[in-house]
């Protein structure tokens, strides 16, 4: 919750800028430095914080079995394409409200969502307080493209392979999932909650992906009714369930700072 909107907490939060100032060099030091700079005819001070990078990692959910209705589902493979990602100062990240981002990851990484931790790369950022994010799952529709395109080597947003077991009946599935941006010039996921009080070189961002949650909407009973080996593709009801879950249950963003 944004503390500023609570009148009771307003006064303490009002000191936010003062806290930042205290971390700057003391007034006497900066005055001396300024004087020296003036003598040397150089600019004194800086025009705000410099851009920086910090690591981005994906955290998976683990490989154990989990229940979906009556079925016990085990994933043997969960490859998820994630990126590009933009961090925004507004709480409603969208192309309309996030023309200028606070941080971005302009690549697409294919992540093993079963592995505990995977380093994805570096997030380029500038000082500020990110409050939401917008991102794609490897398929983007940029303003200059006439149709969406998959950027990842995976060719799709995710590949989920596994088995579902119930009362001895075992069904295996191999799902190729596409989460397609519906609007040209907008990422597939907008307004994703992602808040950190600040970010700097010592920060680290972890994206927690839970592919298990994405499968909880799949109707395995209906799948089982038509066979034991399924290849789930766009157009199938199971695909719609997985893609919908990937949209409404995005990765969660968690920052740590040194």
């Amino acid at each position: 919750m944004r503390e500023r909107s609570q009148p009771g907490l307003r006064d303490s939060d009002r000191g936010r800028f003062k806290l930042r100032e205290r971390s700057q060099p003391g007034p006497r030091d900066s005055k001396r430095r300024c004087l020296l700079a003036a003598v040397l005819l150089l600019a004194c001070g800086s025009s705000g914080g410099e851009p920086f990078s910090y690591p981005l990692a994906a955290v998976g959910a683990g490989a154990g079995p989990f229940p979906v209705g009556d079925w016990q589902v085990t994933l043997t493979r969960a490859e998820v394409a994630i990126g590009p990602i933009y961090l925004c100062a507004t709480a409603a990240a969208s192309p309309d409200l996030c023309d200028v981002a606070l941080g971005e990851f302009t690549e697409v990484a294919v992540v093993d969502a079963l592995a505990p931790v995977a380093e994805i790369g570096e997030l380029h950022a500038r000082p500020g307080e990110p409050r939401s994010a917008m991102l794609d799952y490897g398929i983007s529709w940029f303003t200059t493209q006439s149709r969406p395109e998959a950027l990842a080597t995976l060719g799709h947003s995710a590949r989920l392979t596994g088995t579902a077991v119930r009362d001895g009946a075992s069904l295996s599935f191999d799902a190729l999932v596409d989460v397609v941006p519906p609007l040209r010039g907008s990422p597939a996921l907008v307004g994703v909650r992602a808040h950190s009080e600040f970010q700097d070189e010592g920060s680290r961002l972890e994206l927690r992906l839970d592919p298990r949650a994405w499968l909880t909407g799949v109707d395995f009973d209906a799948l089982a009714a038509s066979g034991l080996v399924h290849s789930i593709n766009p157009g199938d009801p199971a695909h719609a369930a997985i893609a919908f879950a990937m949209t409404t249950q995005p990765p969660s963003f968690r920052w740590t700072h040194d």
Partner: protein, 913 residues
């Protein structure tokens, strides 16, 4: 609840507002004027039809041009039409060697008395020298003859109460030790140039007839010549940083436009990042004034800044001012003069137009990048310097891609005098230009080699960038001087100015508002701004009131007004088919500014002067926003689109300057003033108050003009400027947006000297520390903008250094005329400019140089710009753009730049006759 503004608080506020400020005054100690000497005289024929039995005396004011010919002749003291006509007819045939000042010929007005003794009468005995002429040597005159007035020079006392605005400098032609006039009333000889503190000086005095200074004629057949320089005395400076750049400084280094000439002033840096049809981008003392948002530009007093211009507040296109007709530029840094009006935030710049060299002039310039310019100018001899006409056409292919330009300009001015102390000036100007634009490039694309430094993006959206400007302007100024020394001014001006540009800074970011399904069609922003406006200036300055010997005062009251009808539109275009795919702005604005000012000048003895007053402006806007309350397609229509609103506000504040002269060659100044800048009208809501930005300006400085053999003038000052709401250019919108309150403080030092008669040196160093004093205003995209206390304002160079050298020497005599050589150089240094996000640009070194040889009526020259052939960025920016040069678009701000011109060489051929 916030505390109400109680009456007690108001009184305290009022008291607190009386802060004194001292302004430094810049007094250019100009060399003395040497009077013209007659080389051919013709006697006047006695008009027998009007014969009289008493001596008749006619006094003529004769203008002697720089060529020694007789120009304007007016009658100062009449003896009847017959005698007047006879005297005029005679003097018109006289020839002189022209008056000189500092070695250069100047036009001068001299007083030539003709005495017609009655026919067959005895020659009148020489009249006694009047007692108010101090004992100064009277040079020997030629032998007197009955009807031949022999001009001789003798000093004549300036009557302290004389209302002469023009500098009066009787200078005996053969007394080289003529003392430079000092400021005291007891000085026997006022010089031509120094703004003598004792004489009231109108701020824009033009040529004025020299009223009789009470000098009596010398012995009846010896005339008395008072010499006054013809033309304008620079108005007395209000602050240490009030610089008048005269022709020798302006013309030392080469220039291509009048905007270039502004770099001679301390702390000014000028660039042209948007091509030749868009106004210059000007930096002054820590202000990025963009195209004029922080500087009040005037041409002969008529304002040039455009109110609520779509491309930038206070947009001032100086391209219609031909550099050859600029006689001097007054750069007032700071706001200390009640005459300064809207947009005077960093200061004011006034162009004074005049042509000293009379006759015809044809100049052809051509050279690098297919540049060709043809100028024709005529300045009729015998007429005032302020009467001239000039026209120029210029064409260029531009350096790099997409920068071709074509422009035409016509400019003329006519100065006249009327009976009873009336003088006037009529000015007309027209200008049209169109130029292509290469736009900006991302630094990372240039570094990666995806696009060349002087290229444009190969994209059709980048190739379609261009700008066009058109202007028609006229102005009239009438001044009247009364016998008591008062001066009344009436000036009116009107202009129709058109601007039309297409620029794409951001590539492919935008989405249509009208049809949101349309996106990625290219952010080619088309801006149109058509402004029909006019205004007037009225003022009256009283004569001097001297209740005591040590105290004198004068008061000026005045009013100025402007009313503009602005029609503006902004659309997004899809190149190359020119299809409009979005409407962003469609508005008509009626902007009115009525101002009232009072300027009081108090003199205490010879040491202290206090000048100041107050100014109040009422700003009024009537905005018809055709796209206001816009209904997006996905919204259910609940109303009709369109939002008309009005807003008014008052900007009022004091401006005070104090000058103390402890020693004759040392002046100290302290000044304080409040200025304002009118807002972008479309950003106002109905009834919104405070429709302007307030600035507080303070300065203290000294000016030294030691009386050495060679003229030297040194100025040093420290200043501070505080803004309540500053603006910066937002490339995504293509216009200025608010960035929050700012503070600028720094020092400036300037030196102007002529170590040898043939060398003119002018140099300056300006340092500024410009910071944002509060977080930038929150927006819906960024409700908590990051802010570090004392963070530097981006884009403003902290250190600006300028050096101008001019060499002018006669080499050898060829026939009847000397072969004269002129060399010139201008050097600019800008330190590394801070950019947003803790970055900084590279420092900038630029050198321009010129050389020319002149013989008689022909001059050949060469000019080199950016002689060091430096690859530099005329402007740097930091914003988000997507030109499709990377697989995934970035939404982080990146560095962009507009390239500055590389080395260019132009040859000039000038014919003057």
């Amino acid at each position: 609840m916030p505390p109400a503004l109680t009456p007690a608080r108001r009184v305290r506020c009022g008291a607190a507002l009386l802060l004194a400020a001292l302004t430094a005054r810049s007094a250019a100690a100009a060399p003395a004027v040497q009077a013209p000497r007659p080389v051919q005289q013709v006697e006047a024929a006695y008009p027998l039809a009007a014969a009289s039995s008493s001596p008749q005396r006619v006094e003529l004011l004769v203008t002697v041009g720089v060529d020694g010919g007789v120009g304007e002749v007016t009658v100062a003291s009449s003896a009847g039409p017959a005698f007047d006509a006879a005297a005029i007819a005679a003097v018109r045939q006289w020839r002189f060697t022209p008056a000189t000042q500092g070695g250069a010929p100047v036009a001068a007005r001299i007083r030539v008395p003709f005495v017609f003794p009655p026919p067959l009468a005895e020659p009148a005995p020489p009249a006694p020298v009047p007692s108010d002429i101090p004992a100064s040597p009277v040079p020997a005159a030629s032998s007197p003859a009955p009807t031949r007035p022999v001009p001789s020079a003798s000093p004549s006392a300036p009557v302290p109460a004389a209302s002469s605005p023009a500098p009066v400098a009787p200078a005996p032609s053969d007394s080289p030790t003529q003392p430079v006039p000092s400021a005291s009333t007891s000085a026997p000889v006022p010089t031509a140039s120094a703004p003598a503190p004792v004489a009231p000086v109108p701020s824009d005095s033009s040529t004025q007839p020299v009223p009789s200074a009470g000098s009596a004629p010398s012995p009846g057949d010896e005339g008395v010549i008072e010499v006054s320089t013809h033309g304008r005395r620079p108005p007395p400076p209000r602050a240490a940083s009030d610089f008048v750049l005269g022709p020798e400084v302006l013309n030392a280094a080469p220039k291509q436009s009048s905007g270039d000439m502004l770099t001679r002033a301390p702390g000014v840096y000028v660039s042209r990042p948007e091509g030749d049809a868009v106004a210059h981008e000007i930096y002054l003392r820590g202000f990025n004034a963009a195209h004029g948002q922080d500087i009040e530009f005037t041409v002969g007093g008529a304002p040039i800044n455009q109110i609520s211009h779509l491309h930038g507040q206070g947009y001032a296109d100086l391209n219609f001012i031909l550099p050859e007709v600029v006689r001097s530029i007054r750069v007032t840094e700071g706001v200390y003069d009640p005459h300064q009006g809207d947009f005077a935030v960093a200061g004011s710049i006034d162009f004074d137009l005049g042509v000293a060299q009379r006759g015809f002039l044809l100049r052809s310039t051509g050279g690098s990048f297919g540049t060709f310019r043809q100028l024709a100018m005529w300045a009729p001899r015998g007429q005032s310097e302020e009467t001239f006409a000039a026209a120029a056409i210029r064409r260029s292919s531009g350096f790099g891609m997409n920068r071709g330009a074509l422009s035409g300009t016509g400019l003329g001015q006519f100065a006249f005098t009327g009976p009873g102390g009336l003088a006037g000036k009529l000015m007309v100007a027209a200008h049209a230009a169109r130029a292509g634009m290469a736009g900006v490039l991302r630094n990372d694309d240039v570094e990666a080699g995806r696009v060349g430094f002087y290229d444009r993006y190969p994209d059709p959206g980048a190739g379609a960038q261009s700008a066009s400007a058109a202007r028609g302007q006229l102005g009239l100024e009438l001044t009247h001087r009364s016998e008591t020394g008062g001066r009344t001014l009436f000036a009116a001006h009107a202009a129709l100015v058109d601007f039309h540009s297409r620029e794409n800074f951001t590539g492919y970011l935008q989405r249509s508002m009208v049809m949101p399904a349309w996106v990625g069609r290219g952010d080619l922003i088309e801006q149109q701004n058509r402004d029909l406006g006019g205004g007037f200036r009225l003022s009256h300055r009283t004569g001097w009131w001297r209740p005591a010997r040590w105290f004198a005062a004068t008061l000026e009251l005045g009013s100025s007004a402007r009313i503009h009808r602005v029609r503006q539109a902004q659309n997004l275009l899809q190149a190359p088919s020119n299809e409009t795919w979005d409407h962003r702005v469609d508005a008509e604005i009626l902007a009115t500014d009525v101002g009232l000012f009072a300027d009081l000048e108090l003199r205490f003895g010879k040491y202290v002067q206090l000048r100041g007053g107050a100014r109040a402006d009422v700003l009024h806007y009537d905005i018809d926003d055709h796209l206001g309350n816009f209904i997006a397609p996905y919204q259910v229509a609940s109303h009709l689109v369109g939002y008309r609103r009005t807003a008014t506000g008052v900007a009022a504040g004091p401006r005070v300057a104090l000058e103390v002269t402890p020693l004759p060659w040392l002046k100290t100044f302290v000044a304080y003033g409040q200025g304002y800048r009118s807002p972008q009208a479309r950003q106002l809501e109905e009834g919104e108050r405070a429709p302007f930005t307030k600035v507080h300006s303070v300065e203290g400085g000294v000016r030294l003009a030691p009386r050495w053999r060679r003229p030297v003038e040194l100025t040093a000052a420290g200043y501070g400027t505080f803004l309540a709401q500053d603006l910066a250019f937002d490339p995504e919108e293509g216009r200025l947006e608010k960035i929050g309150p700012t503070r600028r403080s720094g020092v400036v030092a300037a030196l102007q000297t002529r170590p040898w008669p043939w060398l003119q040196v002018s140099t300056s160093v300006t340092y500024v520390h410009a910071i944002l004093t509060a977080p930038p205003p929150a927006t819906v995209e960024d409700p908590n903008p990051a802010y570090v206390a004392g963070q530097l304002l981006p884009y403003v160079p902290p250190v600006v250094v300028r050096l101008d050298l001019g060499v002018s020497k006669d080499l050898v005599q060829l026939g009847a005329h000397p072969l004269a050589m002129r060399l010139g150089g201008g050097f600019n240094y800008l330190s590394a400019r801070p950019l947003p996000y803790g970055q900084s640009s590279d420092p900038l070194y630029l050198l321009d140089a010129s050389a020319s040889l002149r013989w008689s009526w022909i001059e050949l020259g060469v000019e080199a710009y950016n002689l060091l052939a430096r690859r530099y960025a005329a402007s740097v920016y930091s914003f988000v753009s997507d030109w499709g040069t990377t697989p995934v678009p970035s939404r982080l701000p990146a560095r962009h730049f507009a390239a500055g011109p590389p080395l260019s060489v132009l040859g000039t051929l000038t014919l003057s006759f």
